[in-house]
């Protein structure tokens, strides 16, 4: 009796771990981007080594590149010089080492964790790594996917393997149905609030139960994406008919007889009845409300109608509230908002843009509020334009951009000003994450869009 994680792990053990040595784990797919790869390529060059499996390596640019159309497709140069250097360096490295690159103007470019599922290169049962902690996203397909540092990027380049200690397992059981207006983002924020930002350290999470099975692939990716925000390097969901239906039409998914053979293997990727997890938590989906963060880590989160707790004497808590300009006892609803960001590898997919469009249709962004909507990929951009969402966004007064990580992390020119409040569908509300002094409140696309319309933190159910 084995868990889903155990099955994927053991299928990739080149050498099993011993008390003295870690396991050698085979990596099926290595995703790279411009920010965490240059130093790893330098190591290869210094040692005179090739990339062992360029056919299992995919490159794109997402973190530091701009999202303004003039800079991406026009004649305006990339404004951040150092970012322009990273882009050029990735182009050179990909060409030198024979790696397929979805470059700046490629129609298939986008956030690394958005495009691999779209291409069908993310598949059940795989091991997938990337020099980015939100690699956990791909666990939505029943893959073991986790973020690595740049030294490990170099290890995978050179050997297609990593040295790893086997993590423990943690079942997150979510039963019941999410209520209208309560999304996958609210669910994962509630889970993080419950187990804490280090609750998953040393563990791989498996999200299970009827509420998880009812989620679309876009929603499952939102959940798995933020596993790292609970301290877990990876989160997984067993593949099922929803997964297979998503993958079947994707360009790089297996076809014909290969598809049938793959499907047979993928159907076995589930935790056996009676398999034991090291830890578990039970969540009742029907009890959940739209969630919003109020502090400086994703575990500082509340149902949107609640008030900030009062923790007199807790210095760390007080420091977080001071940074946010909030006080214990404050209600979250009605607090003013300066910026709203809808996008990122957490909530930049078509389901998310549809949710935003549902709220924004026929409405305007409140005066003085900046609404930035950034699709997760160029494919999603086109799909949102075809579906009419882009017209709704533009009519509402939003700034509609080219794909990228954008305002999730302030390194590409898209930033929130010091002291400003940003309701953001991204994944981290750390101090300064969206710009020096920026104050981030994490929420769902519904809540973000509703707050943009009112200019205040708003329960989206009032506008649905």
């Amino acid at each position: 009796m084995r868990t889903l994680f155990d099955k994927v792990w053991s299928a990739h053990e080149v050498v099993a771990e011993t008390p003295e040595t870690p396991a050698v784990l085979y990596i099926d797919l290595h995703l790279i981007h411009e920010v965490t790869s240059p130093q790893a390529f330098s190591v290869l060059k210094n040692l005179g080594l090739p990339v062992r499996r360029p056919d299992r390596t995919l490159a794109t640019m997402d973190h530091s590149i701009p999202t303004s159309t003039e800079q991406v497709f026009g004649n305006v140069p990339i404004k951040v010089d150092a970012a322009a250097r990273q882009v050029r360096q990735l182009e050179q490295n990909a060409a030198e080492f024979g790696i397929e690159l979805f470059g700046m103007r490629d129609a298939r470019r986008g956030i690394v964790h958005v495009i691999s599922p779209e291409l069908g290169t993310t598949q059940p049962g795989m091991t997938i790594v990337c020099g980015d902690s939100h690699t956990s996203t791909h666990g939505a397909f029943g893959a073991l996917a986790f973020g690595i540092g740049t030294t490990e990027v170099g290890h995978v380049f050179a050997t297609q393997a990593l040295l790893q200690r086997k993590p423990k397992t943690f079942a997150v059981n979510v039963e019941g149905r999410l209520r209208p207006g309560v999304t996958a983002k609210d669910l994962i924020l509630a889970i993080i609030g419950r187990i804490g930002v280090s609750g998953g350290t040393g563990h791989v999470l498996e999200y299970r139960g009827s509420a998880i099975r009812a989620l679309s692939m876009d929603e499952r990716m939102t959940v798995c994406n933020m596993s790292i925000e609970a301290g877990a390097r990876a989160g997984m969901i067993a593949p099922d008919d929803t997964t297979f239906a998503y993958l079947e039409s994707k360009p790089r998914a297996p076809k014909g007889r290969d598809w049938d053979a793959a499907l047979e293997q993928w159907r076995a990727l589930r935790t056996d009845p009676g398999a034991v997890f090291d830890r578990s938590v039970d969540i009742d989906a029907a009890q959940l409300e739209p969630m919003i963060t109020y502090g400086t880590n994703p575990g500082m989160v509340l149902p949107i109608g609640a008030a900030i707790p009062d923790k007199a004497g807790d210095e760390v808590f007080a420091k977080a509230l001071k940074y946010m300009g909030f006080h214990g006892g404050d209600a979250m609803l009605g607090k003013p908002v300066d910026v709203v960001f809808i996008g990122s590898c957490t909530n930049g997919r078509l389901d998310d843009l549809q949710a935003a469009a549902q709220i924004l249709r026929g409405r305007k962004v409140a005066p003085g509020v900046r609404l930035l909507i950034v699709p997760g990929s160029q494919a999603i951009k086109r799909a949102a334009e075809t579906a009419g969402y882009a017209d709704i966004f533009i009519a509402a007064g939003a700034d509609w951009r080219e794909s990228g990580c954008s305002m999730c992390l302030g390194m590409n020119g898209d930033t929130v000003g010091a002291g400003q409040y940003s309701v953001s569908t991204s994944n981290r509300n750390f101090e300064g994450r969206q710009g020096v002094g920026a104050r981030t409140l994490l929420a769902s696309p519904y809540t973000a869009a509703a707050s943009a319309v009112r200019g205040r933190i708003t329960d989206p159910r009032e506008l649905l």
Binding site: E20, Y26, R85, H155, A158, G231, R233, D258, V316
Partner: protein
């Protein structure tokens, strides 16, 4: 990687819990394409005032902190982003060890690969260290022990392979490459797996 056998140093304390890698090195400094020189941007948003002057209130800027090689921090140090720039910045500044009750997984792995010691201690030891900034501590990598100036000594977990790499400055890549025969055999046995 430089071998690391022993660290004997005073400590500097940043007591906050959940110090994330965005604080250790903010994203706007990740546009570099090298590993060196990140020490001046370590904790940039806490260390410098908006006008760029050092913030005199911040622990690393105090005169007594100069030369300290051991950072003592609150619970769950290094959470968040996988950026290896975080240990690179800490090392470039001069740190050789970080002590906390809990250290985030990816940061821990990244640190060990660069010769920065992530040392997890019990709550009692951590409380003593957090309340005694500047204490002279001794870290013995071979023995896996941290000794406080009180004479109290605690073991910290370090597996044999990791300890060997640290003590001898061995890069894990060398070991991985030595298993290339195993990797080839594995690939031969799993040819049906779909490449990209």
């Amino acid at each position: 990687m430089e071998p690391i056998v022993r660290v004997h140093s005073k400590t500097v304390v940043i007591g906050s819990s959940n110090i994330d890698t965005d604080q250790i090195i903010p994203a706007r400094f990740l546009t570099t394409t090298t590993k060196s020189g990140l020490g001046k941007q370590l904790f940039a948003d806490w260390r410098y005032l908006p006008d760029g002057a050092p913030n005199p209130e911040f622990a690393l800027n105090r005169p007594e902190a100069q030369g300290a090689q051991v950072l003592v921090a609150g619970r769950n140090f290094g959470c968040g982003s996988s950026r290896e720039h975080a240990p690179w910045a800490l090392l470039d500044f001069g740190f050789r060890a970080v002590i906390s009750t809990e250290i985030a997984d990816i940061f821990r792995g990244n640190s060990l690969k660069n010769g920065l010691l992530p040392i997890v201690v019990d709550e009692t030891t951590a409380q003593w260290l957090l309340t005694h900034p500047g204490a002279a501590v001794d870290i013995d990598v071979a023995a896996g022990r941290l000794t406080l100036p009180t004479g109290a000594s605690v073991a910290f977990p370090l597996e044999a392979f990791t300890r060997h790499c640290l003590l001898h400055g061995v890069d894990e890549l060398g070991y991985l490459r030595s298993r290339s025969g195993d990797i080839e055999r594995y690939e031969a046995a799993h040819r049906e797996r779909t490449p990209t």
